[in-house]
Symmetry: C2
Subunit: 243 residues, 2 copies
């Protein structure tokens, strides 16, 4: 097996194994080759193979049984959202079987509220950028998202905001920062008129609200987001492997 350079070996093995699971080279329920066999095939050490398998295990893609073998989890066809990607809305839409797209509704600067200032560790009245977007599933709006970040964070030309970027790309491009982790609050709410009219949504059906704060490796807050969606249209289904 030849492996291209430039990406890490584990990353390459990771991609190959995922592809084999995706295209059913390893079909659901199948037993994978032993770790030693995989190590031989890819010409890497067993430790490398194991670090890849550990990640697939965490995500619930495989089930490892000591003394027996490693199996493809056949139930993962039903699952659409892995825990690590709660805020990857386009994936959520895609995994529910729709074609995702993003529409920028608004992007404007205004002074921070007291609450926002506290969240970002900035002064009240410091300027923030507010961006409102909808995520569409087959051209139907299903998620309303409002993102807020201090204007001072923005390093790149601010004139035209590209609203079609994912959050992690957005932060990367405009703030030249990488997101290290996020803290999310999940709650159930009755939509206000504005959200309801945007989502063309029955006002009596409660929505899921996601309140997400993103931080970098130095623990500086990068971006704050609040999102609403109807869980009867988009199923929020998570896998959790035992720790």
């Amino acid at each position: 097996m030849n492996i291209k350079r430039s990406k890490t070996i584990t990353e390459q093995v990771n991609e190959i194994l995922r592809e084999r699971i995706r295209n059913a080279t390893y079909a659901p329920g199948d037993r994978l080759p032993a770790e030693n066999e995989l190590a031989q095939e890819f010409e890497v050490s067993r430790a490398t193979i194991r670090s890849v398998l550990a990640r697939l295990d965490m995500e619930g893609l495989i089930l490892r049984k000591q003394g027996d073998g490693t199996y493809i989890n056949e139930r993962l066809l039903e699952v659409n959202t892995h825990l690590g990607g709660l805020w990857e809305f386009t994936h959520l839409i895609q995994n529910n079987g729709y074609q995702p797209s993003i529409k920028l509704l608004m992007a404007q600067y205004r002074p921070a509220t007291a609450e926002e200032a506290e969240k970002f560790d900035i002064e009240v009245e410091d300027e923030v950028l507010v961006m409102e977007r909808t995520f569409l599933a087959d051209n139907r709006p299903v998620i309303f998202a409002r993102n807020i970040l201090p204007a001072a964070w923005i390093q790149a030309p601010q004139d035209k905001i590209d609203g079609s970027l994912h959050i992690r790309e957005f932060v990367k491009v405009y703030c030249k920062q990488d997101i290290a982790y996020a803290i999310s609050d999940i709650s159930a709410v009755i939509a206000d008129e504005r959200v309801s009219s945007i989502l063309k949504h029955d006002i009596l059906t409660p929505l899921l609200k996601l309140d997400i704060r993103f931080y970098d490796k130095s623990n500086a807050p990068l971006l704050y987001g609040v999102s609403y969606f109807d869980d009867s249209i988009l199923n929020l289904r998570l896998v959790q492997a035992w720790a």
Copy 2:
């Protein structure tokens, strides 16, 4: 540093480091000793230290910066629920600052509905055990949970059901099985009368509903659970580290 046997080395190091974080030997924001130093202190290899740090990193407890060092995440005081433990309701209650307890409302056998039969891969009309419980925060009911499992799964004496067990303990004791992973659906609902009366809850406030299915390593369904709670009382706050 002396280390007791019987548990794995990584598990022991894990516990020691967590304790040091908890009791602020390593205070929030502090930089940890270098991996090599920790390896020397515990008399283990650096790989062992790294596997422990990798887990703390995933859970958001620490932030690792290449070329710099590893730091305690000072923002974790705010966080109460790690993703791995979505169904550990007593932890959820505890982390919201209340004293948790569990009250068994009902435990009875009845034939499976069509929906249940499909979920468990059993026949319609096969017998299932239904258990209804409330989780109390300072003696106030805050979570209503209904758990269902096929009666045939139960290996232990069925006469008296101990309703105060956690799910993983319950499955361990009565089914002699270990939970390998779970699939959860999160949704927002308006409570029905029964749930509302149990939770003494304003009927207009939407609740979070958690639909969780538990599986073992062989992919056999073990148990199914539906739970309701008011997110204005119990904050469902998750940490997600970047994959």
